[in-house]
């Protein structure tokens, strides 16, 4: 294993060890996605009564797919920010930042932990969707992997933005880790089309990769066809936002080293 790969593995291993010793943390990963799915799944069942069977199935599928896929953004974002916060809470950042671990390697490790957390979190919810609501998330085929990846990346750049705020404002900005992605939800158009937003809000939604993903998802469910234009927009926006987030992260890290914030970040 190369030096960089070993350092990245070292930090991943640190988080895996932590989860091995803490079942409440492990439970928390799967708890919210499963709970969300139960609530929205039963809601979909209730509202689809009395509707024409085809429309009911479609509405239910759109709602459940929306819940599951939006959880990817939330879980991947929380996976990164919570792992970073764990280092603040355990007062371990000082040791990490004086080790040979580069900031880019730290980010790579946090992203890897976020992928592991996202899969652990979504697996029970996906099984619940299949068993309780007869909804197979993977029915549309391999294209779903592209949806997953785009939403995962969106969670990452939101997380890098939050970590940048933690560098700037310290652990006092911790609440943002839980709230920012939820604040984006209305503009992500998870459960309704972009056209249903007021005209002045639509550009905000269209600047988010998620809005294009969910427009594409609804098109896929309605027509069975993949809207590659929407997918292309989502991928391009993700690339642009990711580059911007990396630049902000780098700038805030440098600023934190100048201000001495790395020493007092937990205060």
């Amino acid at each position: 294993m190369s030096g960089a790969a070993r350092r990245i593995w070292g930090l991943i291993y640190r988080h895996l060890c932590m989860y091995r010793h803490s079942w409440p943390r492990l439970l928390e990963i799967a708890y919210w996605p499963a709970l969300e799915l139960l609530i929205w799944g039963f809601t979909a069942n209730f509202f689809s009564r009395g509707i024409h069977e085809g429309a009911a199935v479609l509405a239910g599928a759109a709602l459940i797919a929306g819940v599951l896929l939006w959880e990817i953004v939330l879980r991947s974002q929380i996976g990164v920010t919570l792992s970073f916060l764990e280092e603040i809470w355990s007062r371990n950042l000082g040791h990490l930042f004086v080790s040979p671990l580069r900031p880019a390697e730290m980010v790579a490790a946090l992203l890897a932990v976020s992928v592991i957390r996202t899969f652990i979190g979504l697996l029970p919810a996906t099984i619940i969707a299949f068993l309780l609501y007869h909804y197979d998330l993977f029915a549309p085929g391999p294209v779903m992997v592209l949806f997953f990846l785009n939403l995962l990346v969106m969670g990452w750049w939101v997380a890098l933005g939050i970590v940048s705020l933690l560098f700037r404002y310290g652990a006092g900005a911790e609440a943002l880790a839980w709230t920012i992605a939820f604040g984006i939800t209305p503009f992500a158009c998870v459960f309704y089309p972009v056209a249903s937003l007021p005209g002045w809000l639509q550009p905000v939604a269209l600047a988010l990769p998620a809005a294009h993903i969910f427009e594409g998802l609804r098109a896929l469910l309605l027509s069975g066809q993949t809207d590659w234009a929407q997918f292309g927009w989502a991928a391009a926006l993700n690339a642009a936002w990711m580059l911007a987030a990396i630049a902000v992260f780098g700038a805030e890290f440098r600023r934190a080293r100048i201000r001495g914030a790395l020493i007092s970040i937990g205060e």
Binding site: R7, G10, S22, S90, H95, F97
Partner: protein, 242 residues
């Protein structure tokens, strides 16, 4: 050869001048004590040596690497221990050492952890969560972490804090042996003046971000006409003049 070379180091915050044109060097195989009261600039200086903090001006060279441009090459060959920075409490002592062994790319890690466990009397504690240990045990684990990569430069902040006299003496002996056998340089920040007298080849007394005085412990004791370093420290810390 110099392990540390600091030239005209300045760290200015908006309302404070924390370090004011500090210059010093530390040869390999030597132990330098960095002393001073609270707010003297010791922590700021150590943070800049570790790359945690960017100086306002001045130059830091560690083990031949310019810390402004090449700090990771230096960080791989140095290590740090402080009782004020913790290790993840949920992880066992062994897991913590494994994590840092990976971060420092330590070869034959399992063997190295066994060696250190024996050296720092941690064998019985290896499978216990770090958070369940006493303050003294945590200090020993932090020291084992600092020795993992057999560093050429050790920065130690209060290395024997919370240790009972027997273990404190054991650790001081370990530091002396390590310096003798490896030729490593050690920068020591301590408020234990007996420890400073025993371990340090040279002492740098800091006050208000500047060097108030420097010399061997014996030279400083003689210069101020005192009986020990404790009295020298008090004299310098309480004097008005710098």
């Amino acid at each position: 050869m110099e392990a540390i070379s600091v030239e005209n180091l300045v760290k200015r915050y908006p309302a404070t001048l924390a370090v004011d044109h500090l210059s010093f060097s530390l040869e390999r195989g030597r132990i330098l004590g960095l002393l001073g009261g609270n707010g003297a600039g010791k922590t700021t200086t150590i943070s800049m040596l570790l790359g945690l903090l960017v100086p306002t001006s001045g130059r830091i060279n560690v083990l031949g690497h310019d810390m402004a441009h090449d700090r990771f090459a230096a960080l791989a060959r140095m290590n740090f221990s402080s009782p004020y920075i913790a290790l993840p409490a949920r992880l066992t002592v062994r897991e913590n050492l494994e994590v840092y062994g990976h971060l420092y790319n330590v070869p034959k890690l399992k063997h190295r952890i066994g060696q250190l466990a024996e050296q720092f009397r941690l064998t019985e504690l290896l499978n216990r969560p770090a958070g369940d240990l006493s303050a003294g045990q945590k200090t020993r684990v932090a020291l084992a972490k600092a020795f993992l990569n057999q560093p050429d430069l050790l920065l130690l902040d209060e290395p024997t804090a919370s240790l009972d006299p027997d273990t404190g003496d054991y650790v001081r002996t370990a530091l002396e042996e390590y310096r003798r056998e490896s030729g490593a340089a050690i920068l020591l920040a301590s408020h234990n003046m007996a420890e400073v007298e025993r371990l340090c080849d040279e002492v740098l007394m800091m006050k208000q971000g500047r060097v108030a005085d420097r010399g061997t412990p014996a030279e400083l004791i003689a210069r101020y006409g005192r009986e020990n370093m404790e009295q020298v420290f008090l004299h310098i810390a309480r004097s008005e003049a710098l």
